[in-house]
C-alpha cells in the first residue's frame, strides 16, 4: 500500500480538526501521522482512530525551530519511511512549510487543493479567484499538497497507530531565524479552522459595532471575519480579513452581514457549505450567489438572531 505522510497540526496538545480532515483525504493509503510541534504520545489515540498506521514523533529531538528546518524534517521523514505523498493543511504555516519542502526536494506542489486523486496524481484547485476549477497532474516522485481547511470531514477509521520516534537531524537552521512569536488574543478562534464564520462588511460602520458580531459568534462557536472594506476602514483587524487578500475559509456555515459579495471576497469563502447573507439591499449581488438571504438592517437582524440561537 502506498505510504502517505500527514503533517499534523496541534493546539493545546490536541490534534486540530482540520488535520483529521486531511487524514480523511488520504484514506486508502498507509498513513504516517507526522507530529512535529506537539505531544505525539498524547495525540496517538486520536490519530489511530482516524486512520494513522504510524504516529511519528518528530518533536522529541526539538531540532525543528525554523520553517526551513520543518521543511527539511518533512524531506527527511519522506526518505526514512518511504513516503510517496505528504499532505498538510493549507493554513498560513502549512502553506509555507510545504512550499519550502517542495523547493528543497525539487518536487512540484499543489497549494490549497479542493480535491485529489492520489493514484492518478491529480488535484483540483482554484484558478482565477475561485471562478474556475483546474485539474492539475503532478509529475512527482513525492506528491506534495496542502488541503483547504475543513473541506474534508474527519472520518473514523481505526488503525494501529504505532508510535515511532524519529529525529530528523536538521541542525542547520538555514538563513531564516524566528525572532519572536507574538501571540494574539488567546480567545480568538483561528478563522481558517473555525467550523462557523460570521463576517461583517462595510455596513458594520465602526470598530465597536463588531461587538454585535462577537456576541452572535460566541453563541455559534464561530470566528469573526471581515471584508476588506471593513478592514480598510479600520473597523476590523487585518488578521480578520476574508477573501483573496486575506484568509481562505471553508466553514460549514458562513454568515455574511452587510457584505456586498465581491468576487475577491468570494474567492476566500466560496467553498463554505452553507452561505447566509443579511443585507438591507434586496438587489445586493451576494443574494445571487448564496444559499439563504434575509433582507434587513444588520443592526436589527443580528441581535435578534443572536437571541434566537
Amino acid at each position: 500500500m502506498a505510504k502517505t505522510g500527514i503533517l499534523i497540526e496541534t493546539e493545546n496538545n490536541g490534534v486540530k480538526e482540520t488535520s483529521l480532515g486531511v487524514m480523511a483525504a488520504a484514506a486508502g493509503t498507509e498513513i504516517h501521522a507526522l507530529v512535529m510541534d506537539g505531544d505525539a504520545a498524547a495525540a496517538r489515540e486520536t490519530l489511530a482512530a482516524h486512520g494513522a498506521a504510524v504516529v511519528v514523533d518528530m518533536a522529541a529531538g526539538k531540532t525543528v525551530q525554523s520553517p526551513d528546518q520543518a521543511a527539511a524534517a518533512l524531506a527527511a521523514a519522506a526518505k526514512e519511511y518511504g513516503l510517496t505523498a505528504i499532505l498538510g493543511t493549507a493554513s498560513a504555516i502549512g502553506k509555507d512549510i510545504f512550499a519550502r519542502a517542495a523547493a528543497l526536494m525539487g518536487q512540484p506542489l499543489a497549494s490549497d487543493i479542493l480535491g485529489l486523486d492520489l493514484e492518478q496524481r491529480t488535484v483540483k484547485k482554484s484558478h482565477f479567484s475561485g471562478k474556475t476549477l483546474a485539474t492539475l497532474r503532478l509529475d512527482a516522485d513525492i506528491f506534495l499538497c496542502t488541503v483547504r481547511p475543513n473541506l474534508f470531514e474527519p472520518a473514523q477509521a481505526q488503525a494501529e497507530g504505532a508510535l515511532a520516534a524519529f529525529d530528523p537531524g536538521v541542525a542547520d537552521a538555514g538563513g531564516v531565524k524566528v525572532l519572536e512569536v507574538k501571540k494574539g488574543d488567546a480567545d480568538t478562534l483561528d478563522l481558517t479552522e473555525a467550523p462557523v464564520v460570521v463576517t461583517g462588511g462595510r455596513a458594520v460602520n465602526a470598530a465597536e459595532n463588531f461587538a454585535m458580531l462577537d456576541a452572535c459568534a460566541a453563541k455559534l462557536g464561530a470566528a469573526v471575519g471581515a471584508s476588506r472594506a471593513a478592514v480598510d476602514a479600520g473597523f476590523a483587524n487585518h488578521a480578520m480579513q476574508v477573501g483573496q487578500t486575506g484568509k481562505t475559509v471553508s466553514p460549514r456555515l458562513y454568515i455574511a452581514c452587510g457584505v456586498s459579495g465581491a468576487v475577491q471576497h468570494f474567492a476566500g469563502m466560496k467553498t463554505s457549505k452553507v452561505i447566509v447573507a443579511i443585507n438591507e439591499d434586496k438587489d445586493a449581488p451576494i443574494f445571487a450567489k448564496c444559499d439563504y438571504g434575509i433582507v434587513g438592517d444588520i443592526f436589527e437582524v443580528v441581535p435578534r438572531l443572536t437571541e434566537k440561537l
Binding site: 498560513a92 497532474r137 512569536v181 487585518h238 452553507v274 444559499d291
Partner: protein, 256 residues
Amino acid sequence: MKIFVCVKHVPDTAATIKVAGEAGYEEGGVKFVSNPYDEFGIEEAVKTVEKNGGEVVILTVGKAGAAATMRGAMAMGAHRGILVKTDTQFLDPALTAQALKAAMDQDGLGDMVFTGKGSVDSESFQTQYCLAAALGVPVANEVSALSLGEGKAVAEQETGGGDKQVLELSLPCVIGATKGLNEPRYPKFPDIMKAKKKELREIDIADLGIDLSQGRICLETLEIVPERSGAKMLEGDTDAQIAELVRILREDEKVI
C-alpha cells in the same frame, strides 16, 4: 542597492473568465494588470532605493503584452525592466523560477528580490520559494512589515488566530509581499510619460536555456465554477425570517 521585483502579468481579478478548449481561456476582452500583491513589492523596492539609493529592476516572464504591465511598474518608480518572453499560459512555477534566476544571473545579482504572496490566476504560491532555492538564499512569504538592517532583513507575517511571527533573514533574500506592507502609489501623469522612455529589454525564454518540456505541473482541464443558483429569500417579518432561518440551519442543513 539593486532590487529585483518579480511581477506577473495577470487578468484583473474582476474580469469574467471564459474557458476555451480543455484548459485555456479567452484572452480577448480581458483586462490584464500586474498581479496585485506584486505591487506591494514594487512599492517597497522603490521606497527602499528612494531612501538608500540604487535601482529597481522589474522582471516578468510572460507574453509580449506584459510589456504594458511592466510600464505601469516603471511608472511607480522602477528604473528598468526585463521581459522573458514565453507564449505558455500556465508555466510550471519551477520553470518560471529558473527563468527568473537565469535573467538575474545575466543581469548581475541583486541585493534583494521582491515577489507577491501568490498570483491571482494560477494561485500556485510557490514561485518565490523555487526562486529562493535556486538562488540559494532565504525566503519569507506573506510579509506585511519589513525593516532592513546591516546585511539582514526583519520581516513580520501573520500566522493565524491573530498570531504574528517575526523572522530574521540574511541578505540577499526573497520577500513575498502582501497587504499591510505599504500603500502602493498611483503613478502621476508625468511618471507615466517618463516610464515610456525607460529601458525594457526582452529575452526569449529559450535563449535562457529553459526547456519548457521539463514542466512537472500539467494543467489538464479548466472549468467554470457555477455560482450558487441564488438565495432562498426568507419571508415574513424579521422575527419570522429569523425563526425560519434558525430552523433551516438546525433541522435541514444541520450546521448548527
